[in-house]
């Protein structure tokens, strides 16, 4: 049994706190969470007072209150790239909650995918995304609470023969879901089929679309899907 693709602790990034949420790849740029660039570090950690006052400036109601936004960036694999990508966030008043770098994962265009969670009001978040793009950062996805739900499925069958990499690549292409982690259990010589557990982070309300994608892929590849129960069944 082995974890595929992502680091084994990938799931921990979905939890609320903990130092591991600020894991960062040393090969991606000279960024240090406790110093070096005061502009960046000022956005780290709790900055609720400042955000609250800004929210008040923009008027009452949930539409203008700060909320977490998940953005998926793609960076060139060069020193300084990450720092350059973070500056527009701090300069525009975003509160950086976490950075997740999928170590060893490279997009088809040879870029490094990075997910950042930023707390900001919706208006301010739009400004941040625009500033990122102005700075030449490739913003692949940006949205409020983009991956708000978790969906776990188990695929059963000839997992390896059905090209697991292709399955994951195509799941990742599904706009409503991101593959958070994968475990494969392929007992050799036991004469039984193998299994893979996929944990998908899905957008709020995107679970059924993600599940449809899993079903279609499984049907195409002759795999069975063991789905979770929906509708509050426990």
């Amino acid at each position: 049994m082995y974890a595929y693709g992502c680091t084994p602790t990938t799931a921990s990034r979905r939890r609320e706190t903990g130092p591991q949420r600020r894991r960062i790849a040393p090969d991606i740029g000279p960024w240090d969470p406790v110093g070096r660039d005061p502009t960046v570090t000022s956005t780290l950690g709790s900055d609720a007072d400042r955000e609250d006052s800004r929210a008040a400036d923009e008027g009452p109601g949930s539409d203008s209150s700060p909320q977490p936004h998940t953005s998926r960036l793609e960076l060139a694999d060069e020193p300084g790239e990450l720092l350059a990508a973070l500056k527009p966030i701090s300069e525009n008043g975003g509160n950086l909650l976490s950075i997740f770098h999928e170590r060893g994962n490279v997009t088809p265009r040879g870029r490094i995918p990075v997910e950042v969670d930023v707390e900001a009001t919706p208006g301010r978040f739009e400004t941040i995304v625009a500033a990122l793009r102005d700075a030449g950062v490739n913003v692949v996805q940006a949205g409020a609470e983009q991956y708000a739900e978790e969906l776990v499925v188990v695929l059963v069958g000839d997992i390896v023969g059905a090209d697991l990499s292709d399955t994951l690549r195509r799941m990742e292409a599904c706009p409503s879901a991101s593959v958070a982690d994968v475990s494969v259990n392929a007992p050799a010589g036991r004469g039984e089929s193998s299994s893979a557990r996929l944990r998908l982070a899905t957008r709020a309300g995107g679970g059924s679309e993600a599940l449809e994608t899993v079903r279609d892929l499984a049907a195409e590849k002759g795999l069975h899907v063991v789905e979770p129960l929906a509708g509050g069944g426990v």
């Binding site: 069958g157 259990n185 789905e227 129960l229 069944g233």
Partner: protein, 319 residues
């Protein structure tokens, strides 16, 4: 306890035999008892012990024709012949005969209410007799009567683990890390699985129960049969899948779901500590209600005496 009734019991398997055994304890008299080839009829009450012993020793319950039981002087026909698909015969004809004679029918046989629910209700409308079928879903567990008490219009969905054989196999596989074939052989040795387990492990039995529940929930607005159900079994679930589920605090159960929109049965991921993750041959049904939240009903889903208790409970509910 309600007034004693005169029962005709058709079907001499585990359930029919147990109904004959237990009827007196519920204040009822068995006046006829039939298997597929023979019957014993006595308006004063048959000798239950003798009939059950004769069935075990000689393979038949008596010397009368099995048809004689259907025309005996009874109040309630207990239909406990094996479930059949499609036209649900001969169970359906037994039910028709009784209703046309204005007698009540209590079913342990799933066929008539799973495959011909509309026909059953139509015959019932034209009869002074009533049809009850608590024993067809979840053995001893009072599911149908609970839905009736809540009123089907206030129950939005029913889901559950409704096949003890499949659940025994999945829970043994998960607990012991042994593969499907070994656990199936063990289940057959224990009498938990039939020599031909297809009906149970392919999900058909659970699906029939869900079809019945969907028919009850729909309350005549629409009719469901097995053809309307999306059915999957557990034969494709390897031990490796249960291991992966367990690593994540989950397990796999054969779960059936019934709503007014349809029926679905298949292996599903559920949290290990969830109410639905019952172990062994235990069954559970979870009702989603409009005003009473979620209700979980759990207990023995099969077995002669457990199912007979549901049959005799139905006899007591007859007006």
């Amino acid at each position: 306890m309600t007034e004693g009734r005169r029962l005709a019991v058709v079907g001499a398997g585990a359930v029919g035999g147990s109904v004959v055994d237990l009827a007196a304890a519920y204040g009822h008299t068995v006046v006829a008892f039939a298997d597929s080839t023979s019957a014993v009829v006595d308006t004063e009450g048959i000798d239950a012990d003798a009939a059950v012993e004769r069935k075990a020793a000689e393979g038949h319950v008596g010397n009368a024709d099995s048809e004689d039981a259907l025309h005996a002087d009874y109040d309630v026909l207990v239909e406990a012949t094996p479930t059949t698909l499609g036209d649900a015969e001969p169970g359906f004809s037994h039910l028709r005969t009784a209703l046309e004679r204005d007698r009540h029918v209590v079913l342990a046989n799933k066929g008539p209410v799973a495959e011909r629910y509309g026909d059953v209700r139509e015959l019932e409308r034209d009869s002074d007799g009533a049809v009850r079928f608590e024993a067809t879903v979840g053995g001893a567990i009072p599911i149908i009567s609970t839905v009736e008490d809540l009123d089907p219009s206030h129950v939005t969905a029913a889901r559950g683990v409704l096949n003890g054989t499949a659940n025994f196999i999945l829970s043994r596989m998960a607990a012991e890390g042994i593969d499907y074939e070994h656990v199936l052989a063990e289940a057959q040795d224990l009498g938990v699985a039939e020599a031909d387990p297809t009906f149970d492990v392919e999900g058909t039995d659970a699906a029939l129960k869900c079809v019945i529940l969907a028919n009850v929930l729909a309350a005549g607005d629409q009719e469901f049969t097995l053809d309307d159900a999306d059915v999957g079994g557990i034969t494709n679930v390897p031990g490796s899948a249960l291991e992966l589920a367990a690593e994540d605090g989950r397990t796999i159960r054969l779960v059936g779901e019934a709503t007014r929109d349809g029926i679905r049965v298949g292996p599903r991921l559920v949290p290990q500590n969830a109410a639905l993750a019952v172990t062994g041959t235990r069954n559970i049904v979870q009702l989603e209600t409009a005003h009473a939240g979620q209700l979980n009903l759990s207990g023995r889903g099969a077995g002669g005496e457990a199912t007979a208790s549901a049959v005799l409970g139905d006899v007591g509910r007859l007006g």
